[in-house]
């Protein structure tokens, strides 16, 4: 529609003022204050001055914290790759299924998405803990096996439950578990819009299924792939709950360090700097995504 505001100034004001005011007062202002704090210093236990100092950022870039930032990035990249590998075939199956099956598959992916994040993480804890279902199954298998080997006179050592919970692997598994629907849904949305005749044409012209995927499907689905990657990567880097519940003391991620600065260590400028490092990273990701999207659409115009 895109009409000039002169046409209905009153209506425009009525529509635009409340949300803009809300956004400024209850979203941009709080973020702005944290941003200001990231350039501040603690001068006493409760008093912070904002004096443009970069000490908080310098603190955040010390090797210890740089290591944690690096680890968070590594976890997030690994999670994103795993989600892409697991999710792509699922999205393909969904996009090319018959309408009825498609609706069911969509529901299958969306139900966990609607389920509380905390509950899903808790469900994984029950699976992974020392007396959890994985160890229970392994233990049962081990005992059955040793019962068999005892018959031939071989004594197997006693089963020791594996330590699965509170490890780095548990954190990545938890992130994949939580993020998978966020990867599958945009992939599916992109694949579903694809012009099928192009794929059929490439197959007719002698491309193998894999060749058709690499040269036809993947480039056309690129916007969906990119948005899936961004939607998985950003929440994974900033994940708080997953490393907190599934990780051990050494699998701290950046969000856990931020939480500590604000809730127990009381070093707000440092926490603010860390949280804005995460923000800058997010903004770079989003900017890269929209730049890629613009470059795709540009030649078409």
């Amino acid at each position: 529609m895109d009409r000039p505001i002169a046409e209905a100034r009153g209506l425009f004001g009525f529509l635009v003022v409340p949300p803009t005011a809300w956004l400024i007062a209850f979203f941009l202002a709080p973020l702005g204050i944290v941003w200001a704090y990231s350039f501040g210093e603690n001068i006493s236990l409760t008093k912070i001055v904002v004096d443009g100092s970069l000490d908080a950022y310098a603190h955040a870039l010390q090797p210890l914290y740089l290591g944690i930032i690096g680890k968070s990035l590594a976890f997030a990249v690994l999670t994103t790759l795993l989600c892409l590998c697991i999710g792509f075939p699922v999205a393909v199956a969904m996009a090319f299924a018959k309408p009825r099956t498609k609706a069911w598959l969509l529901l299958l992916v969306m139900l966990p998405f609607w389920t509380n994040l905390l509950i899903r993480t808790y469900a994984l804890m029950a699976v992974l803990r020392t007396e959890g279902y994985v160890n229970l199954t392994l233990g049962w298998g081990w005992r059955s096996l040793s019962a068999v080997t005892r018959l031939v006179g071989l004594r197997m050592p006693v089963f020791h439950p594996l330590v699965l919970l509170h490890t780095d692997a548990a954190v990545v598994l938890g992130l994949v578990y939580v993020q998978l629907p966020f990867m599958i849904l945009p992939l599916y949305a992109a694949l579903d819009r694809l012009d099928r005749s192009l794929i059929e044409a490439s197959l007719d012209l002698g491309a193998s299924q894999i060749g058709a995927f690499a040269r036809v499907v993947a480039p056309m689905a690129a916007p969906g792939i990119i948005s899936g990657i961004v939607l998985t990567l950003i929440p994974s880097v900033g994940a708080y709950l997953t490393p907190d519940l599934l990780g051990g003391p050494s699998s701290l991620m950046i969000a856990n360090v931020i939480e500590r600065q604000f809730r127990s260590a009381d070093d707000w400028p440092f926490g603010a700097a860390l949280s804005f490092l995460l923000m800058y990273l997010t903004l770079v990701c989003v900017a890269a995504q929209s730049l890629a999207a613009r470059r795709r659409t540009a030649p078409a115009r």
Binding site: M1, D2, R3, L11, F12, L15, V16, P18, P19, W22, F26, F27, L28, P30, L31, V34, I86, P89, V92, A93, F96, A97, A103, L105, L108, V109, M110, F113, T115, N116, I119, R120, Y122, L124, A126, V127, L175, Q179, L180, F182, L185, A189, L203, D204, Q209, I234, P235, V237, G238, A239, Y240, L241, T242, A255, I258, E259, A272, S275, L278, T282
Partner: protein, 286 residues
């Protein structure tokens, strides 16, 4: 279009490896949740080997006054936040759809922020805001003591509603409005009789998303809740930190049932397509 390729070349679901892959993914996504539900009915504290059916953990969960209060808080917050997000989101969507104005790109950018900003950053921002700038009276009578949490939830929800409703408005045929005006309808009548019915599926999808986002949120609430203003996820978190227990399983199952019921109602009202399109576009993470 002539189909000269081998029949079913694109029928990937007919291929055994892909079926197996799909099955494995479904097991991965559902097995932990199903065991959680199953063992909420298990008559054993150790909660690992099946000892018989019982509802006693549901009774325990439902008589735990803290847990019930937290659930009540969560539902109240979700309801108020959803209503406010619908209003603010619909206003934004209408403004962006209808008008071009200076600063439109800036507003669009600012609106996208709550969707992409990591929850932890928003959580600490709200913590700082409500402790330094607007100290919220947490001893105020219920439900006003929940104000800080409600405001935070509206802030992260209404952008989602705006995006969904705006997408829905793109498919509105301007001729319908012209026709209504020719027939003598004023702005108000055009809105109630022509525009609002067209927006309805978007509003329903938006409401569903706002409700689930609010009910689900842990991180941002964690930073804005006090000892007397716990929500269900925050309460469950404090229980989970100590141990895996059947009461938590029972409480979780109840909440899952509630969310699924809300989603089912919304899908039934608004059609699965509108909802899925809305959800496929955007997301909010851990």
């Amino acid at each position: 279009m002539t189909r000269r390729s081998t029949p079913g070349a694109l029928d990937y679901l007919a291929r055994a490896p892909l079926r197996l892959w799909l099955l494995a993914t479904a097991v991965f996504l559902y097995a932990p949740l199903l065991t959680l539900i199953l063992f909420s009915f298990n008559d054993s504290r150790r909660n690992i080997i099946w000892r018989g059916f019982t509802l006693k953990y549901y009774r325990l969960a439902l008589t735990d006054s803290d847990l019930v209060a937290a659930l009540g808080n969560s539902l109240t917050i979700a309801l108020i936040s959803t209503l406010m997000s619908l209003v603010l989101g619909a206003l934004t969507a209408l403004a962006l759809w209808r008008f071009r104005f200076p600063g439109k790109t800036a507003l669009e950018g600012a609106l996208a922020l709550p969707i992409v900003v990591p929850e932890i950053c928003m959580g600490v921002a709200m913590l700082v805001f409500f402790s330094k700038v607007v100290p919220w009276p947490t001893e105020a009578p219920w439900p006003f003591n929940l104000g800080a949490i409600i405001i935070s939830h509206i802030s992260f929800s209404f952008s989602f509603v705006a995006v969904i409703v705006r997408a829905r408005l793109q498919s509105f045929d301007p001729d319908l409005e012209a026709a209504a005006r020719d027939l003598g309808a004023g702005t108000g009548r055009v809105f109630t009789s022509v525009l609002a019915p067209h927006m309805a599926p978007g509003l329903i999808a938006g409401a569903l998303l706002a409700f689930t986002l609010s009910l689900d949120d842990f991180v941002i609430t964690f930073f804005t809740s006090g000892p007397d203003t716990t929500t269900f996820p925050v309460k469950v978190y404090s229980m989970v930190r100590f141990s895996v227990s059947p009461e938590v399983n029972a409480a979780s199952t109840l909440l899952m049932g509630l969310t699924v019921a809300v989603a089912a109602v919304a899908v039934w009202l608004g059609g699965a397509r509108a909802t899925s399109v809305a959800l496929a576009g955007e997301g909010h993470g851990p």
